[in-house]
């Protein structure tokens, strides 16, 4: 097979990056075993300076018949030769499960309805939910996707080695595919790849809105999607049916299961705090010893350019998301005319839950009661699930492939926006800085998609060209594109002008976010250095922890591993020559000012945005607010501040940032959520919010804010 393949630059191979992660979770010789395992799994990866090979799977499609591909002989090797399980059998097993019986009985008792009615209801839920995977439809899907992908992308690059290990892993244990979710496009791409390479096609957890689409919903269902309602809340029966359904699929292991641990499509292209409910369901069969092991395969999907970019930006600015509908899909035809560059699908190294959970979960806890009995998960189990979910997000991050454009976006965002929009940035300066940043990113272990054989200037030019929806280059300068709205009757108001810039800025911010995880730890440390003006490690660590706490919804770090994250930040900063590390102190180095100021500036928009929110809340007295009121109110405030020149960042307008800030305050117990039947209301403790704001601005020293481990399910 002649394929168009190239290598992604990466200083550390992914599994090497994982070593610090592993060394944290390990106790007694476990690390050793994991290393051995990784070497085993990663055989062929010789030195630390290793390049991963990605192959363009569209290349082959462009050269041969699409129909031929769709009709190819599909000959997968499933887990242990597990017999295929028909939809009817699966659903029957779920409905007849002892667990569901218990729950039905419980609900019948509580509601006073008959058990039969409850079971009937369960049947209804299952019908709405269940997938109906059929090879015919996989073929149909294959055919359609080939057409679509060829139009959208210049290439879909897949790491073949990852596919190879996946193929092996699928035969050994039930496999859970855990991709990140950045675009609707990636919904079926994994199925498409697996179909192409004779690996069992997964069943996929999807949001219920997709099921509502005419025809498409049904096609998705038959391509293996099962549909989960959005706000399940406290619907006990629904939870029960869903969890039994998921667990049955894992136990039977006849097909891999795919789900988004982040729970939803990230609107900001940045990782989202993982949701733990589904993760717990998936892991429970191992916890309860119903299977020997479960294999988790993190999958990182990265895009040069995301289809929904402007849609997302608008959504973040408060324009409601259009409802998923078939008509809408067809109307999106225009979107298909554009070039979206390449897509990277990086299959991570399969991870054994058994090994990961060693010492973290005592399976004996399930020994004294029937395993089918509905029980609240223990704290230990919750902590373990949360840890694993965060770990998966981290691995997804580390596996993602970063485009030159993302680095450029980081730099562009550090310029004053008004200047960028009106006067533009000199191209030469941008190019020079981008190359500098490339070095920094590689030092921090990023996986860069920087074509080696093309001149650097061409790489950057084509990146800008690809993103002409955000920036344009004219006369040696780069400008932020402000969307023209034709046929304006009246001159645009200053507020509208802000919004127009904001749309572009938020798009730019999304692309910056693609590489944010690379710099997150050192950037937090750089900020801590700035805030504390101290060189003492313990003071810095306290501030680092505080920052992590405040921004825990922005930068997803693995819970309970702060000191390792701090260490890592120190080591990385030292590696880029920004600091000197000693036993007690972290001292600035003269050469590192550029790096430090860049890193600090990376965090600054978040600090500024949060401060807007904090100030708003602390000035309000102790109000009770709903989220629906709060976000527009703060957004208005921010708009005013931008206009008055007091606020530089447009990101304070993003509902995502504001919601994250609210969640963080809740986590820090400065805001309490009141449970009311209609909507979520929040009670604000102004003093506490004010204090957090003061610490963040460095006016009062950071004290350790004790928070409970994040283990909600």
């Amino acid at each position: 097979m002649v394929v168009d393949s190239y290598k992604v630059q990466r200083v550390k191979p992914m599994w090497k990056c994982l070593e610090p992660v592993f060394s944290r979770m390990t106790s007694r010789g476990q690390l050793h075993r994991l290393q051995k395992r990784s070497q085993h799994r990663a055989s062929g990866r010789a030195g630390p300076e290793h390049d991963e090979e990605f192959v363009d799977i569209l290349e082959e499609r462009r050269r041969s018949s699409d129909l031929g591909h769709a009709l190819r002989t599909f000959n997968p090797h499933p887990y242990r030769g597990a017999p295929p399980c028909s939809t009817a059998d699966l659903n029957k097993a779920v409905l007849e499960s002892q667990y569901l019986r218990y729950v039905a009985k419980e609900i019948a008792m509580e509601t006073g309805s008959s058990e039969e009615d409850v079971r009937e209801e369960a049947r209804g839920i299952l019908e709405e939910m269940s997938q109906n995977l059929q090879l015919r439809f996989i073929r149909l899907m294959g055919y359609t996707l080939t057409k679509v992908f060829k139009r959208l992308f210049t290439g879909i690059f897949v790491n073949m080695e990852g596919l190879g290990t996946l193929q092996q892993a699928i035969q050994e244990a039930p496999v859970i595919l855990m991709p990140n979710h950045r675009s609707y496009v990636d919904f079926l791409v994994i199925s498409y790849i697996l179909f192409t390479y004779d690996i069992p096609v997964p069943v996929i957890a999807a949001g219920i809105p997709l099921a509502g689409m005419k025809m498409v919903g049904e096609i998705l269902r038959r391509s293996g999607a099962f549909f989960i309602r959005r706000a399940i809340g406290s619907d006990k029966l629904y939870w029960a049916v869903l969890s039994e359904y998921v667990k049955t699929i894992v136990r039977k292991g006849y097909a891999p299961m795919e789900f988004y641990v982040e729970g939803l499509r990230s609107r900001t292209l940045k990782s989202v705090t993982p949701k733990l409910g589904m993760m717990h369901m998936v892991l429970e069969p191992y916890f309860k010893s119903e299977v020997f092991d479960i294999t988790l395969v993190p999958v990182s999907i990265s895009y040069d350019r995301v289809l929904e970019e402007s849609l997302l930006a608008h959504e973040l600015l408060g324009v409601p998301k259009p409802k998923e509908s078939t008509a809408g899909l067809l109307k999106a035809g225009k979107v298909l005319q554009e070039d979206y560059g390449t897509m990277h699908v990086n299959f991570g190294r399969p991870l054994s839950v058994r090994q990961l959970c060693q010492g973290k979960i005592n399976r004996c806890q399930y020994n004294s009661a029937p395993r089918d009995l509905p029980q609240k998960p223990t704290e230990e189990a919750q902590a373990c699930v949360s840890w694993l979910a965060h770990l998966m997000v981290r691995i997804q991050d580390e596996g993602s492939v970063i485009s030159p454009w993302s680095l450029m976006a980081c730099l562009l965002l550090q310029a004053p926006m008004a200047v960028l929009a009106e006067e533009g940035l000199p191209w030469e300066r941008l190019a020079e800085r981008t190359l500098w940043l490339r070095r920094l990113a590689l030092d921090c272990g990023a996986g860069l998609n920087w074509p080696g054989q093309t001149p650097d200037s061409d790489v950057m030019s084509s990146a800008v060209a690809l993103h002409r929806s955000v920036v344009y280059r004219r006369a040696g300068r780069v400008y932020l594109l402000q969307q023209e709205e034709p046929a304006r009757k009246r001159p645009i108001s200053p507020e509208e002008a802000v919004m127009r810039i904001a749309t572009a800025v938020l798009m730019l911010a999304s692309y910056r976010n693609q590489s944010l995880h690379v710099f997150a730890r050192p950037a937090l440390l750089a900020t801590a250095l700035h805030i504390t003006k101290s060189t003492q490690r313990d003071e810095l660590f306290a501030c680092f922890c505080f920052l992590q706490d405040v921004f825990s919804y922005e930068f997803i770090l693995v819970p309970g591993e702060l000191s390792q994250d701090f260490e890592e930040a120190c080591v990385l900063l030292e590696k880029c020559g920004a600091v000197h590390i000693s036993q007690q102190e972290v001292t600035l180095s003269d050469m590192g000012l550029e790096a430090l100021s860049f890193l600090r500036a990376l965090i600054q928009p978040f600090i500024d945005s949060y401060q807007v929110m904090f100030r708003y809340l602390s000035e309000e007295g102790d109000p009770v607010l709903t989220e629906k009121q709060l976000v527009p109110a703060v957004r208005n405030r921010a708009t005013k501040l931008i206009l008055s020149g007091e606020l530089r960042t447009y990101e304070a307008l993003s509902s995502d940032t504001l919601k994250n800030a609210l969640s963080a305050l809740q986590r820090l117990e400065a805001v309490t959520k009141l449970r009311t039947p209609e909507q979520n209301e929040y009670k604000v403790n102004s003093a506490a919010v004010g204090r957090i704001g003061d610490i963040l601005s460095g006016t009062i020293p950071p004290q350790m804010l004790q928070t409970t481990p994040d283990a909600r399910l």
Partner: protein, 752 residues
């Protein structure tokens, strides 16, 4: 034919008679046993039963291997004429009656003919040949001889403690276990010295000796299985040190004062190196492996052989007086490191060998109990009771060598517990000598509400509290009828589901065991050479029927072996019930010989391990008990864990990792795991083995399995005791120990 019957008529002792019939007919031992049993009480019934036995001639067997009692008896080929036998006789495998010590028997290899009847069928006798009728008539006459002399109607047989050398005990000549075990047993392997597996010059496996059914036979399939399963090679041998080198044994640390006083009691003792080494080990793989390499660790300094309860009292008193460590020794079949001398023990260690306390002191026929000295080994107990027409029905796999006291001390379980119960159900009264004195109950009430049952401090105490000296246990009349069976299931899941259903309906046969696919293949590999083309032809047909016609995957199917016991009609009825249930789970009746071979495997598997060790293969079995809903998961996970761990530890060839469900209970089952691997190329195979076993046990516990179903804790599984019984539980046990044995005289340090 004639002369056989004449020989029969010459027999005068009942035992002789009994064995004679069994051997001659190759069939009705059970019926005849029953006949013997009932002769005293209900002689009238004898005729019918004997006739039934002769007529049906179904595969009865000796419950376990026996020692040679009457070597002069031979099988009678004439009785095995296929024409004269009803069809179902044919299902008995070649010389199927395991272990009957008959030198001439194997030459004639009777009744290997197979007839095509199905297990489940309720076929009754078709007998009626003249010869049979004559035989029946003669049997009736013989039955007359069984009448006891009048006046001997008291049902109590009493015996007293043998005084040292005062009167010679006639039965002592036939004692299975001599003081010097080395005279008949291996010092670094399992069982009798004369019985072992080997690959002969032609590379065929054979089993030596004359004790077992398999003895002297060629097992053609074993080599291929052995090489294929373990990746072993007959060229690569790892022979054991042939002779025990006494100089490798540390000289004894004797407590002179104790020895002096012991001499005055007249209880025999020895500090001979061989005697001491024999009592220093059980049969864990690490123990045997060390012995094979000639490595000998700490061994007892002295061995004493008390002859009766009072001897034990004296010994324990002296041990307390002189602060000597006592380790009780019964049959030496421990697989929990229970016999290992604690390395931290600085006192003189005395092994208290109970093997000479081996008499049945009385039999109470009114209450159906027997009072027995605790050193008696299973086969002797069963044999002696059989002579009186009774049995205990307690048949642990180790019953050839394990002792009554050992059963009590480890909470043993027998194969036929479904009918007779486990040891705790069987004992009525226990006498134990402790440093505080003798503990026993004041009466023989069948059940008491008198606080916690003190028996349960003794049951499972593993020699940490004292020596069990005498036990009163329940006995039963010997069963009239015994029948083997087997069922093939398409897969293990179905098999487990069937066993669960059988347990639910509470209709488990005396024994029901489910072997997984690997073990089924193993059992197959142990099929002895068949001398008849007809048999191999039938085997082939059966195979084709199951795999081709019924569509069973030979790599997934598994087999359940069954043993029914009791009244003939009930057995047949019971059999039908079980086979009907099996059919619901896709099970096919697969004949009696398959069943029987399954049980035979039990007795020879320990010998097989020694063969493995000759060729770099090391193996062990371990067990657990687990609730029904977890049986499948635990089997799958533990087997997977073993394979996984072996791989992690550099074992080159995938190990044998197999299991079987061996007992059913209302709420769960007992699962047995077998694990073996090729250790060639490993620098420290025992360490690898121990790590894998440790991991497997952790896996068992994580899967909701118990620490042990019947092997006990010993020192091997001590580390998990507190999590098993909770810290409070350990505290309770310790406080009992502290009261009963404050100076740790019984210092084997088992359990906790």
């Amino acid at each position: 034919m004639e002369n056989v019957v004449q020989r029969l008529l010459k027999c005068s002792t009942s035992t002789f008679f009994q064995l004679h019939i069994v051997n001659c007919t190759g069939l009705g031992e059970e019926g005849v046993k029953a006949a013997v049993a009932t002769s005293r009480l209900e002689r009238g019934k004898l005729r019918r039963r004997t006739r039934a036995a002769v007529e049906t001639g179904v595969g009865h067997r000796e419950p376990g291997p026996r020692t040679r009692r009457c070597p002069q008896i031979a099988f009678c080929p004439a009785f095995c004429d296929p024409d004269s036998l009803p069809p179902r006789v044919g299902w008995i495998a070649a010389g199927a009656l395991a272990s009957i010590p008959t030198p001439a028997a194997h030459g004639s290899a009777p009744s290997i003919h197979k007839h095509g009847s199905s297990m489940a069928s309720n076929s009754s006798s078709s007998g009626g040949s003249d010869r049979q009728r004559i035989a029946q008539q003669r049997l009736r006459i013989i039955a007359g001889h069984l009448q006891r002399p009048a006046g001997d109607d008291s049902a109590l047989l009493a015996a007293e403690c043998k005084d040292q050398g005062s009167k010679s005990d006639a039965s002592s000549e036939e004692k299975t276990v001599p003081r010097r075990r080395q005279e008949i047993m291996k010092w670094n392997g399992w069982g009798y010295s004369d019985s072992r597996f080997l690959f002969n010059k032609k590379g065929q496996a054979e089993f030596t000796g004359k004790r077992y059914k398999l003895s002297g036979m060629i097992i053609p399939g074993l080599k291929e299985w052995f090489e294929g399963t373990f990746g072993a090679n007959l060229q690569h041998k790892s022979p054991a040190t042939p002779i025990l080198n006494s100089s490798a044994v540390r000289p004894p640390t004797l407590n002179e004062a104790f020895v002096e006083e012991l001499k005055s009691t007249g209880v025999p003792f020895s500090h001979d190196a061989e005697d001491r080494v024999f009592r220093a080990y059980g049969h864990c793989v690490h123990e045997i492996f060390a012995l094979r390499e000639g490595r000998i660790g700490r061994v007892p300094d002295l061995v004493v052989w008390p002859n009766c309860h009072n001897d034990v009292v004296k010994i324990v008193e002296l041990a307390c007086k002189h602060n000597v460590c006592l380790i009780p020794y019964g049959g030496g079949t421990s697989v929990s490191s229970a016999l290992e001398c604690p390395s931290e023990e600085t006192r003189s260690i005395v092994s208290l060998d109970t093997s000479q306390m081996n008499r049945i002191l009385w039999i109470d026929e009114k209450n159906l109990t027997a009072h027995v000295e605790a050193g008696i080994v299973g086969q002797d107990l069963e044999r002696l009771l059989n002579e009186s027409g009774y049995c205990t029905g307690h048949e642990p796999d180790s019953m050839e060598f394990s002792s009554l006291g050992g059963w009590v001390a480890t909470r043993a379980s027998g194969m036929k517990k479904n009918i007779y119960g486990n040891i705790e159900d069987l004992v009525v009264h226990i006498k134990m000598v402790t440093p505080r004195g003798v503990i026993e109950k004041s009466c023989q009430g069948p059940r008491m509400s008198t606080g916690p049952d003190v028996h349960h401090f003794i049951l499972g105490s593993e020699g940490t509290l004292g020596v069990v000296t005498e036990v009163t246990m329940k006995i039963r009349p010997m069963p009239e009828y015994q029948k083997y069976g087997s069922v093939v299931f398409p897969n293990f899941e179905q098999g487990v589901a069937c066993l669960r259903e059988v347990a639910k309906q509470r209709c488990a046969p005396a024994s029901i065991r489910l072997m997984d696919n690997e073990q089924f293949k193993f059992g197959h590999a142990l099929k002895p050479q068949v001398s008849s083309i007809f048999t191999s032809f039938l085997d082939g047909l059966k195979k084709i029927y199951i795999t081709k016609f019924k569509g069973f995957d030979p790599n997934r199917l598994c087999v359940a072996t069954l043993l029914f016991e009791g009244n003939r009609e009930k057995v047949l009825q019971h059999e039908k019930q079980v086979y009907d249930i099996a059919a619901k789970f896709g099970g096919l009746a697969a004949g009696e010989d398959n069943g029987q071979r399954g049980y035979m495997l039990t007795f020879v598997i320990a010998y097989l391990r020694d063969l493995g060790m000759d060729y770099y293969v090391m193996g062990e079995s371990f067990e657990t008990s687990v609730p029904w809903d977890r049986v499948l998961d635990i089997c799958q996970n533990v087997k997977a864990r073993i394979v996984h761990e072996c791989k992690e530890r550099g074992v080159q060839f995938t190990p044998l990792s197999t299991c079987r469900v061996t007992q059913t209970y209302d709420a769960g089952a007992c699962v047995y795991f077998y694990f073996g691997f090729n250790y060639r190329g490993l620098s420290d195979p025992v360490h690898v083995y121990e790590q894998v076993e440790h991991a497997a046990r952790e896996e068992i516990l994580a899967n909701g399995g118990s620490l042990s179903h019947h092997h006990g804790v010993g020192k091997l599984r001590k580390e998990w005791m507190s999590e098993t019984v909770s810290n409070v539980g350990i505290g309770m046990l310790k406080s009992v120990k502290d009261y009963v044995d404050p100076n740790n005289i019984f210092g084997n340090r088992n359990l906790f």
